[in-house]
């Protein structure tokens, strides 16, 4: 998934070069499934890059508008060098949440700690200084139309007061990194959406941030461009060790590159955990509906009309099997058929991976008799599959 044919080449030497300039903890490819050890400065909570404690934000009433509680009781530990996805519908508060991390939004209560620094207690000057260590990319790219690609990437370095010579060297390396060396003198109007976002990513990385915030960075892009931008972000995370927090309303984005996911609804995180776990065992209806929005997740339409809850007299029982990790690589279905001497019908499903974790969701039909006896359930449990019965067919 992450390797994408349409992604531009990334010269590995360049990555090493940039990685070497980053503080410790960087340059190490780490995935959530092999938890990252604490690197760099000691964070507030054992190696977490970002800690949100009891964060709440209420926009005060103004005129005829009532006060709006945008965030409430937000508690999150975002581990260092991970990609953390926050998914929610529009108006759920995800935008406000991500903006508290770089202090664009000040919470009304609680603490936002980034790399050991309590962001929401800083004065303006100190906050500006901390913001240089936190990159941000945007849905609409927010590039200056008056500046070329080169000068857009140079902007944060100009703001930080670097010399022309230092800026030049750095910007050229960054444009190489995002695969836009040949577009350095182009203005945003001459670039495609994907190219603009690459400039945005290069700009966000210019000051060697430890944290990169992505505010719906792929929502304005077509699916193919989305994949190539996500591949670039995954690469930035793996090779530079940058912690990425992204917000999105698309489960495909979470599935493609995130290590952990938080589901936000009405200003609260209602479900949170490693992506594989949330996918395999969603606990809330919202998480289930986001997962269900992925192709291949629905109960096959032709079948849905014939399902009955009552097994009496039914010939076939329809099961939904969820296989994650090692189980997804096992011949679970053929083994079940051979072990019990029954026929197993494949009705639908999807075999996929979440990050590096193989993942399969299958709709199968088994003889109702075998299901009722408990033999099928026991065999599937032994094989490591999580099983739900969807209904029965006459």
């Amino acid at each position: 998934m992450i390797q994408n044919a349409s992604a531009p080449p990334f010269p590995p030497a360049l990555f090493r070069d940039l990685a070497a300039r980053l503080p410790s903890g960087a340059g190490r490819a780490s995935r959530a499934h092999e938890p990252a050890g604490p690197g760099g400065r000691g964070g507030a909570a054992d190696g977490a890059a970002i800690v949100l404690r009891d964060v709440a934000k209420t926009f005060p009433a103004r005129g005829s508008d009532a006060a709006v509680e945008a965030l409430a009781d937000i508690a999150l530990d975002i581990p260092r060098s991970e990609i953390y996805g926050i998914i929610g519908r529009s108006g759920a508060g995800k935008s406000t949440l991500i903006r508290t991390i770089n202090g664009l939004e000040r919470p009304t209560r609680g603490e936002v700690i980034v790399d050991g620094v309590t962001i929401n207690r800083l004065d303006e000057a100190a906050l500006r200084n901390e913001r240089r260590k936190i990159g941000m990319i945007f849905q609409h790219f927010n590039l200056l139309s008056s500046r070329s690609a080169f000068d857009n990437v140079a902007l944060p370095l100009e703001l930080a007061g670097l010399s022309r010579v230092a800026i030049r060297a750095k910007v050229e390396r960054l444009l190489d990194l995002v695969g836009l060396a040949d577009k350095r003198d182009r203005y945003p109007v001459e670039l495609s959406g994907g190219q603009k976002q690459r400039v945005g990513i290069a700009r966000a990385l210019a000051t060697d941030p430890k944290v990169l915030l992505s505010d719906e960075a792929t929502s304005a892009l077509d699916p193919e461009t989305t994949r190539s931008i996500l591949a670039l972000l995954a690469r930035v995370n793996a090779e530079l060790g940058v912690t990425i927090v992204l917000i999105t309303h698309e489960m495909a984005v979470i599935k493609e590159i995130c290590h952990r996911v938080g589901v936000i609804e009405a200003g609260r995180i209602i479900e949170e955990g490693p992506v594989g776990e949330v996918f395999a065992h969603p606990r809330t209806a919202t998480a289930r509906s986001f997962i269900g929005s992925l192709p291949g997740r629905e109960i096959p339409a032709a079948l849905a009309g014939h399902l009955r809850a009552d097994p009496t007299g039914a010939r076939q029982s329809v099961l939904r099997l969820t296989l994650t990790g090692a189980a997804a690589g096992q011949p679970v279905v053929t083994r079940l058929a051979r072990q019990l001497g029954i026929d197993v019908v494949l009705l639908g499903g999807q075999i996929d991976s979440i990050g590096t974790l193989p993942f399969a969701l299958l709709y199968v039909g088994v003889p109702t008799q075998a299901w009722a006896s408990g033999a099928v359930g026991a065999a599937l449990e032994a094989a490591g599959a999580s099983t739900e019965v969807i209904g029965h067919v006459l």
Binding site: R131, F138, S146, L159, V189
Partner: protein, 226 residues
């Protein structure tokens, strides 16, 4: 062929008047821009929740700007004579006329600058804040460069309106083309002088307008170029 119609004396009057007009308009445009640009930027960035939030100051300045803009120029010229004398040492003559011209140009330019700056995508301000930019850096590196095409067109518009205002400063001995047109063309029944004045003014306005548009296009990076 003009020599048949217009004597060399009249021609030299037209040349002198044109130079007076250019002098008044150029200096007033410069002063108006120097004062109107920061005023306009402040008006655009001092409302609630913005970079230099100062709601009361914003409202008061807005009122003053509106009051100045609603005063007819000819009344403004006469009304501020004591102020003109204070600044220019005299209230009569071409140099003195620059004072009311600048005073009228400033709020005009301020409003145009304000509109151009407001047009800049708020997302750019947010992105700059996220990069750790100071408010002054945002003005210098983001707002002004991004608003530049609008600023150039706006200042062009102000120069054209200054050319028209400059025709009225004859009331305080300001001279210039408008004054020539009134005194010779109208009061001395010399329609050919009036015609010449109008022709010169049309040429001036056309020149200013096309210069402004060319420059605005040149600084506009939102246009595709191949």
């Amino acid at each position: 062929m003009f020599s048949d119609l217009i004597s060399p004396a009249i021609l030299s009057l037209i040349v002198d008047s044109t130079l007076e007009t250019l002098y008044m308009v150029a200096i007033a445009a410069l002063i108006g821009t120097l004062a109107g640009l920061p005023l306009g930027i402040f008006l655009a960035t001092s409302a609630r929740g913005e970079l230099f939030e100062a709601v009361t100051v914003n409202r008061v300045l807005g009122l003053i700007v509106n009051a100045t803009r609603s005063t007819p120029f000819i009344i403004l010229v006469v009304a501020i004579i004591p102020f003109t004398r204070l600044v220019a040492g005299t209230s009569i003559g071409t140099t003195a006329a620059i004072v009311p011209l600048s005073l009228a140009a400033t709020p005009f330019i301020a409003r145009i600058v304000e509109a151009a700056v407001r047009e800049v995508d708020q997302g750019l301000v947010e992105a700059s804040l996220a990069m750790g930019a100071t408010p002054l850096q945002i003005v210098r590196k983001v707002l002004i460069p991004e608003a530049l095409p609008g600023l150039v067109l706006g200042i062009t518009l102000s120069v054209v309106s200054l050319l028209s205002n400059s025709a009225m400063v004859g009331a305080v001995g300001g001279g210039g083309l408008g004054d020539l047109g009134i005194r010779y063309g109208y009061q001395r029944f010399m329609p050919e002088v009036m015609l010449m004045v109008v022709v010169v003014l049309i040429i001036l306005v056309q020149t200013v307008q096309s210069l402004g548009e060319t420059l605005a296009k040149k600084v506009n990076r939102r246009l595709r170029r191949h």
